[in-house]
Amino acid sequence: MSRTTFFERNIGRITVEVLDGRTRQQLCFLDKVEPHATIGEIKSLFHKSYQQLYPARQDLKLDPKGKSLRDDDVLQNLPVGTTATIYFKDLGPQVGWTMVFLAEYLGPLFIYLLFYFRAPYIYSHQDVFTSSPYSVVTLACACHTCHYIKRLIEAIFVHRFSHGTMPLRTIVRNCVYYWAFSAWLAFYINHPLYTPPSYGDMQVNYALAIFVLCELGNFSIHVALNNLKAEGGPKCRRFPHPTKNPFTWLFFFVSCPNYTYEVGAWASFSVMTQCLPVALFTFLAFIQMTIWAKGKHKTYSREFKDYPQLRMPIIPLLL
């Protein structure tokens, strides 16, 4: 082709070189990249040269010590000249969010049932496959199982995840935590020497009622948050607000009522079973969810100028 045509065709195009963030070794060289190409497209290209490094595993930055670039960042909007130097870091194996939740929730679901049915080698030999004489034990099993089934349904059908993936290491750590804790609390509730609640059926029934209400509340909030993403669209961001569903009215008081309801469900489960390990699990979950709620609350307050002042992160009027 003639010189002018070559020039016209390639005007404004950018040369992209990808260097390893640690060693500064050149990993990939892309010339004549369109300026309106996105980082996501760069990642796909990079993936072509390195099969194991699928885009979710790539962390690209303009400055090795700086912020990671987003997949939707456009090359020409970034502070690069005609040559872009991008630094790469391997984030390690990644797992999609749906898989993450499946792994985290299926474990406790089945593990608890192993204890409920008193599988061999857990309790003493004569207790294998026996059942507890207490109705609260069966009730607890039903509650625990329904809780995790609900979570699985939500993970598959309700939640829409913004970040694509989670590092493998984190999932292993989370799974160990959830699985081990559910085994520990299931051990006591289904133990042959289990002691039913001190205030008997009254305690169990009230706790059960609150448990069910909290589960419904938690589900309502998840649906509401999901609908918010749908109605807003990518450009119009709105913070969550109460809807016609009475369970969502908790939004008047807290930023993250889903966490509030979750804590409520586990607290009532603790009271229902009168089991200290469950209370401990509830306490730790409360701490973690409070941290998350405070973070979300801060994000909302910063992003939306008209964010309601009355709202607290997780506990109405208090925390």
């Binding site: 050149q26 010339d31 040269s49 700086g66 990671s68 984190t170 002691t195 089991c275 390990p277």
Partner: protein
Amino acid sequence: MWYTGIHVVSAKWGSVMSAPAMGTTKTAHSDVAPKKKRGPGALATAYLVIYNVVMTAGWLVIAVGLVRAYLVRGSYHGLYFSIEKPLKFFQTGALLEILHCAVGIVPSSVVLTGFQVLSRVFLTWAVTHSVREVQSEDSVLLFVSAWTITEIIRYSFYTFSLLNHLPYLIKWARYTFFLVLYPMGVTGELLTIYAALPYVQKTGLYSVTLPNKYNFSFDYYTFLILTMVSYIPLFPQLYFHMMRQRKKVLAHVEEYKTE
């Protein structure tokens, strides 16, 4: 196709792969922003200097107490009893350091400091104090002396650092003595816990059995065994971390000796 070519310069994948950091809790997409330096103010510095001086003095008292008791008795056995009280007082006092981190006058991690101090306090109270029979063991002397020398150096290091006049000798000692003292201390601690095991099992110390109202049980014996096992992954990590720190800190000084 909007790209015309990819030139792959290096296909040496193995050398480029980076391993995820051990024990990291941040998700992969977190920013690496420079941390804001939270240094202590003038009042906090004065308080910290006093704190560190007092702790240095306290551990010196323990050191002197050990030497004197040895000279008086003429043997290494049973020296614990002569320094029992100051040991408990000053080791427990170290709990304040968690507070210092939490408040921000000391730029260390609350979790890391908490873990270190609590493990010391655990050994002092929940093992040595609680199980009388181990108090006459030689392993107690082993970890107490390791702690004593370490703490004297550490607290004087902090004192001098706060006063911006750190003698190279102290810095060198802090980053060198641990090479021997750390394994020594760990050995003493493990042997002491091991010695306590039969007594804990026999008496059911700090243990709760079923059935009970809160459907909970705790077997201190198993807990102690798990504690001992936890040393296996933890000790090498901490030891090699200190070795890496040593390389960094002492290498720097070689380049430009100022003191």
